[in-house]
């Protein structure tokens, strides 16, 4: 669906019709992931000992078995739909322009910034890791006012650190700044 037109108003492009021709082959990856998830759920459930008591005739295995089997069934139906030309509409939004190809570089940088925060949050503390997360994410998204980005990040992480500690009584890790903050 194009984002330029009114999302529901354009008569031509809105309803994906089954044309019998596979469009957007990457969808099969999603089907495979669903089937794999189904297999994992079933495998895990069969590992569980078969415990049923008079108190619990169903036992812990039934639900995962059902979910796992249904996951595989839906994966097959989904694949059939894709094979018949079905396409899921990618989500539109105010800031989303679907006409361009995906910008994997930005996504990768964001994920890296996010993971870096997870690594650093305990050793360095939230104030430093959070500020870095904000600064690096804004950079990845195209912010070129480095000083301003860093300043906003530091202000936000300090503010949230104290808001949590004083307002909510939850302590975010202070890390190496322990004793200073």
């Amino acid at each position: 669906m194009s984002t330029e037109a009114t999302p529901a108003g354009a008569p031509s492009s809105t309803t994906p019709r089954a044309t019998g021709r596979v469009r957007d082959r990457a969808q099969f990856g999603m089907c495979a992931a669903l089937a794999l998830a189904g297999v994992v759920v079933i495998a895990d459930a069969s590992r569980i000992g078969h415990v049923t008591t008079s108190n619990d005739p169903v036992g812990p295995r039934a639900m995962p078995f059902v979910v796992g089997v249904l996951l595989i069934v839906v994966a097959v139906l989904y694949a059939l739909d894709v094979a018949r030309g079905g396409v899921g509409e990618a989500e539109a939004g105010e800031d989303v322009e679907l006409a361009q190809p995906s910008d994997w570089r930005t996504v990768g940088l964001l994920a890296a910034a996010f993971a870096l925060n997870a690594v650093l949050i305990e050793p360095l503390g939230w104030v430093i890791s959070g500020a870095l997360l904000f600064f690096l994410s804004a950079f990845a998204l195209g912010n070129r006012h480095h000083v301003r980005g860093l300043a906003i990040g530091i202000v936000m992480s300090l503010a949230t650190f104290y808001a949590f500690a004083i307002g909510l009584g939850v302590n975010l890790p202070a890390g190496i700044l322990q004793g200073i903050l």
Partner: protein
């Protein structure tokens, strides 16, 4: 009039300076984030869930109630001024609203949507007061088999009715159910899908799932497709309406409310269908058919009222049955649970003060919205110009803070990133997000009712049959599941050549698709 006196008690609880301040804060935050592109009310409430660790339960519910209504209003501002609706429920508002704004009537479009939202919100909230206790009286007599059936209706409804593709809806639902399985079985203590990790043995916190799918997933998705050239924002002054606008608006408001509330209140309703129906109704009934498609005020007034009334309607199944029927309601349900309050039919009996206070705060929030939004509209419009790098960096910042605060473990941050990529993939492939959240929240509840139902019959399937309520539910589910088949047979008999291609994946009844067909068929004629 027990309900009314209980409600007055609720008002008495809310009207303290501190609580009023929190309600005000709620509607301001709600409107602000509703206006901000990329952030919806569901994401906001998800990001604010950590607040529940520090605030008393009353105040966080007042806050969330305000955000719920505020977000709804803010969303319509965006769709009127930007013409790129963030939520599917404001798609219809954008149709006429943005045309009005482009022809210099932005102030009137915003005014009719603000006042219409107030009217619809007030009437619909009053309807909650009378409808909800009735449903509770009824629901309290239901046993586990009936509940099992009602939860199944919620599953099938969110997966098959709300989205545009049934198979994708079910895929999302099943992923949610699988996520809900992770952890320690509550009866036997067996570990399921934990892969030996002590972090997973505690179950995945639904807050992490919600924040990961809504916030991180959205930020990554937008990052991959960020609009390089900012969309043009139509400048607006203070909203106002002429006498003529009032005359043309009040009936659509009432009709929209009447359409919206029932759809919100049934466990598979949503706001898309009533807003669309309201648009069609106004288009049929208007005395100015020539204006439709060029900015007719009725086309904004009706759908906006329907949208708000349906949002209020979702409070009925939420408070009476513990069933969330939209994403924001799902997160409010989580807030209840994080205080150890079990949602369900017993909620009103166990926590009457809390429930009535929440409803009273909805009335008050609704009033604040009207008072705030008419004068502040130009300020809200400025929010649309916030630099996008800061906006989405901020979302990631608050998402990781919120997820970390749940348990204080960096593990949750890695999990959050993983779920963020799942949310990304879902947006990429057009899988709806709501069924996943509903599955994660209600899956464990479903299993509990299932095991309880079969416990009484010693495992015999007859334990699942239940009473008439369950039969109605199963009949409903059967109709929904078999609908494509029925539609195909009907389509063949009606000999409408173009309907044959509606395969399993694409339910022909989605508002967007139907609207497109409608405009395609009727557009040239009118």
């Amino acid at each position: 009039m027990d309900n009314v006196s209980a409600l007055l008690g609720g008002f008495a609880d809310v009207i303290t300076p501190m609580n009023l301040l929190i309600a005000l804060l709620g509607v301001i935050v709600g409107t602000a984030v509703g206006v901000l592109p990329g952030i919806g009310p569901a994401m906001t409430v998800a990001l604010l869930l950590p607040i529940t660790y520090g605030l008393p339960v009353e105040q966080s519910l007042i806050l969330f109630g305000g955000i719920f209504y505020g977000g709804m209003y803010g969303g319509s501002t965006t769709s009127i001024l930007l013409n790129t609706p963030g939520e599917s429920s404001s798609v219809v508002t954008a149709l006429e609203g943005n045309k009005m704004a482009k022809s210099g009537r932005a102030a009137q479009a915003l005014a009719t949507s603000a006042i219409g939202s107030f009217v619809a919100g007030t009437i619909a909230t009053a309807a909650i007061v009378f409808v909800m206790p009735q449903i509770v009286d009824f629901a309290i007599t239901l046993g586990s088999p009936e509940f099992l059936a009602i939860i199944l209706v919620a599953f099938v409804g969110t997966a098959a009715i709300l989205g545009s593709s049934r198979v994708r809806g079910f895929a999302a639902l099943l992923m949610g159910l699988a996520l809900g399985l992770v952890g320690t079985d509550f009866v036997t203590g067996q570990q399921r899908l934990t892969f030996g990790s002590p972090f997973l043995a505690d179950n995945i916190d639904v807050v992490v799932v919600a924040v990961g799918i809504f916030a991180v997933g959205e930020a990554l998705w937008v990052a991959a497709h960020l609009r390089r050239k900012a969309a043009t924002v139509i400048p607006v002054g203070r909203p106002w309406m002429s006498k003529e606008d009032w005359r043309r608006s009040w009936k659509p408001w009432l009709r929209g409310t009447a359409l919206g509330f029932p759809f919100g209140a049934i466990p598979a309703g949503g706001a898309e269908i009533p807003t669309f129906l309201s648009y069609l109704a106004e288009r049929k009934l208007t005395k100015h058919p020539e204006e439709f498609g060029k900015g007719a005020i009725e086309g904004v007034a009706g759908p906006e009222a329907a949208n708000n009334a349906s949002a209020a309607g979702t409070m009925v199944p939420l408070l009476a049955l513990g069933l969330p029927t939209n994403a924001t309601a799902a997160i409010i349900l989580l807030a209840f649970m994080s205080y150890g309050i079990e949602p369900g039919p017993l909620l009103l009996t166990k926590e009457p003060d809390l429930v009535w206070m929440l409803i009273a705060s909805l009335f008050i929030g609704n009033f604040f919205l009207l008072v705030l939004n008419l004068p502040l509209a130009p300020t809200w419009a400025k929010l649309l110009r916030i630099p996008r790098p800061y906006l989405y960096a901020g979302i990631l910042f608050f998402a990781s803070m919120g997820a970390y605060a749940v348990q204080g473990q960096p593990f949750d941050l890695y999990l959050l990133l993983l779920l963020g990529f799942l949310g990304f993939a879902m947006r990429r492939f057009g899988l709806p997000v709501l069924p996943l959240i509903v599955g994660t929240i209600l899956g464990p509840l479903f299993e509990r009712h299932l095991r309880r139902s079969l416990q009484t019959t010693g495992g015999d399937i007859s334990g699942l049959v239940g009473g008439p309520v369950a039969w109605v539910c199963y009949a409903f589910i059967a109709v929904v599941l078999l609908w494509p088949l029925v539609a195909r047979v009907l389509g063949r008999r009606g000999d409408r050549g173009d309907d044959h291609h509606d395969g399993d994946g694409h339910s022909p009844s989605t508002p967007g698709a139907t609207l497109a067909q409608y405009t395609a068929a009727e557009g040239p004629a009118s």
